[in-house]
Structure formats: C-alpha cells, structure tokens
Symmetry: none
Subunit: 193 residues, 2 copies
DNA sequence: GGAACAATCCCGGAAAAGCAGGATATTGAC
DNA sequence: GTCAATATCCTGCTTTTCCGGGATTGTTCC
C-alpha cells in the first residue's frame, strides 16, 4: 500500500523512472546485483533486517546509489542513524508530492535533504539536550513508564508518596514538559526508557 | 553498587570465576585486549557509549565471548537491539540469583536466554496486536502525546471536554492500559505516534 | 429496516497528577 | 570544611485524569 502510494505520487513526474520495488532486504540486494538505480527510497522497518543496516550495506556495495530514508515516524535516533549509515536524505511518509520531489532532486544533486518535520525533529532533539538524570530519577521514570502511579511507586521503592512526587516534579522540570504524556514520549524518543 | 550486587550473587557459585569488571566501554575494551572471559554481563547504560554499541564492537572483535545484556528497564526495543548486536541473552537487574545462573548456564551452552519478565515484554509487544483506532481516536492520541490536556484538546477540535474524555477512555480500553503513561509508551512502541 | 459503529454529549465522584513553596539528612567533590 | 547535589520528607491547593454509568445522532453495511 505504501509502495503503491509513492508510486502513484511519482507516476506524474516525467523525470522519474520507476525501476522497481522490493519488499525485503534480501530481494532488494538481489535486485541491486542486476541493476542499480540512481536513488532508493528505503523504509526503516523492513521484515528481515532494519532499514538502517540495509542502508549501510547498500552504500558499502554501491556507493553511487543515493538513499533516501522513509518513515512514518519522526524520530531523531532513526534519522541520525540513517544519515550516519550513508543516507542522503530523509522523508516522512506523510510528505506531499512536492516534498518528495524536492527531496529526490536535492539528493540527485549530491546534497542532503531532510523533510521539514524531520529537520525540525532533529533540530529539537539536538538543541534539546538529553537531561542528566540521577539514579533515582531514572528509576522513577522507568516505573512511571511502566504504568505505575505515585502510590504504587512509593510502595515499591519503600519511600513516601511525596518523595515520588518530588522526583516526578524534577523529571517534568528537567525535560521541560508539563505532563506525563510528553514526558514519556520524550523519554522514549531519547531512548531513556 | 550494581556490580557488587552481581558479584556477591555469583560469589556463592563455585562454577563461576569472576574475571573482573569495567566501568567504561574504554576500560572494558582495554581489558579484553589482554584476556577474554567466557561471558560478559553488560549494562545498557554505560558512561562513554551505549551498551548496544559496545555489545556489537565486542562481538566483532571477540566472537567467542557470550554477552548477556543487563538492564533495569524492561523494554522491547533495547532487548531487541542487544540481541541484534550479538547478545546471547538478557537479564533484568532485579533478577534473582537463580535467574542469573540459569541465564549464564543457558548462554554457556550456546543458547539464548531471556529472563522471564524480559521475555514477557518481548512477547507482549509481538503478540499485542496494534489496536484498531478510529480517525478521531488517532487524532486525540496524537494531541495527548503532544502534551495537551483534555480542555486544550476540546478547544482545538471544537468539541466538548466530555467527548475528549470519552475518546480517551476508549483509547485506554483499546490499549488495555490504565493510565496515560503506559498509553503513550505503548503507542510510541507500536509507532502510532 | 436493523445492526454495528463512530462521534458526539452528559453526570458525578474518586483518584491521581501537577503546582508552589517549603525542610532536612547524606554524600561526594574541591 | 564547605558547598553542591541528591534523596528524602512535608502542607495545601488546583487541575486533570480515570471510572462507572448513561444518551443521541448519524452513517454504513447487509
């Protein structure tokens, strides 16, 4: 479905020739051993291996192929890893035709392209440095993420509910967020959980 | 402290010889250049690099060393990544002596060991089929993840606070969780956000 | 025409989280 | 020995979330 979506987006573009598609890393590599396209749009979540690894492998074997990462999610670590492994750009799956084309054109010129949202995410997470948490704070954070309430955490750690509340306040302050939902989302994003 | 805890757990076991410990990735690698133990118990959070990366590096240089991941938190992505990078097992820090020994013995036989909770977590996230959400529910979920409260969401979507509350209740029910923290964690895990 | 679902709305109450502003002991670094 | 950081505890208050019931309007599918 996603493949068809992209295909239909690109069908209107005369400058684009659709070389083919692969559903697995293995079939992708098999395809590449016969012919090499200019650009690969590569999903991060592939059945048989991570897109991040496949990206690296393809780049090692065929350095001239440009790779653009594709993902639904706007997550810094993935973007960063794809780029580290040789990707030339990153486009979110909800990108418009214009964005996708802009990405392809930019990358073909040898420059890197990050779709707006992805770039923002990268920016936010680079600026927004990972807060330094104490042992206890990490512990409490983990338990919050596990769905425990303050009274439950207090019971588990043999401390007072008010202490848990204090740790929680400090966590919110350190992450500069105002409720649990954002706290958990950021913490997961920063891979602290 | 954690190191001492493990050490004391293993001191009773005559079949175990404690080779040493390292506090940083660098000192670990330095140690390994002199002598190689059979098994490394490796924490995920190390000061100078992620345990996941260190795991990979050690496995590349010394494929015969078995690595067991150690972590306080019970999260699928870490477990998966450690295993992807060559770990033979995964034990939580709150494991009992029996679990730890079982893990070491299993791994020494060349098989993989996941501590009960870790295995459950992995299981849950594989089995735990992604709930089917309606348009509106996805929208509300996204806004919750953005840190908005019910009144704020209501204002943004031009609906009543009670309606937002209903959607929220349905989200909790569909994900089978009891609070926002777990909701967000699962939703991020299932890559719905 | 029903059945099933989605989306909207309501009440009332209990529990939890969040906010502001404290305080005290311990510990490790300088 | 002092200082900063950490971890612990507290009060009082407001807001939000969570829970248990509802109900009404559409739409869509058979």
């Amino acid at each position: 479905m996603v493949i068809e979506g992209i295909r239909s987006l690109l069908q209107n573009e005369k400058s684009i020739e659709w070389a083919g598609h692969a559903m697995t890393a293995a079939s992708c590599l098999a395809y590449l051993s016969n012919q090499q396209p200019d650009i690969i749009l590569m999903d991060i979540s592939i059945p048989d291996k991570s897109g991040i690894d496949l990206c690296k492998e393809v780049k090692e074997k065929y350095p001239s192929i440009f790779i653009i990462g594709l993902s639904t999610f706007n997550q810094q670590s993935f973007i960063q890893k794809m780029m580290d492994n040789g990707a030339s750009g990153y486009v979110l799956k909800n990108a418009t035709q214009e964005e996708l084309m802009e990405g392809i054109e930019t990358v073909m010129k040898g420059r890197t392209y990050l779709s707006i949202e992805a770039a923002q995410s990268l920016q936010k997470n680079t600026n927004g440095e990972t807060p330094v948490l104490t042992r206890r704070e990490k512990e409490v954070l983990g338990l919050i993420a596990g769905g425990m309430t303050n009274p439950e955490i207090a019971a588990k750690l043999f401390i007072s509910v008010t202490t848990v509340d204090t740790h929680r306040k400090n966590l919110l302050a350190k992450f500069d967020v105002k409720n649990t939902a954002l706290l958990i989302r950021l913490a997961v994003g920063m891979e602290l959980i």
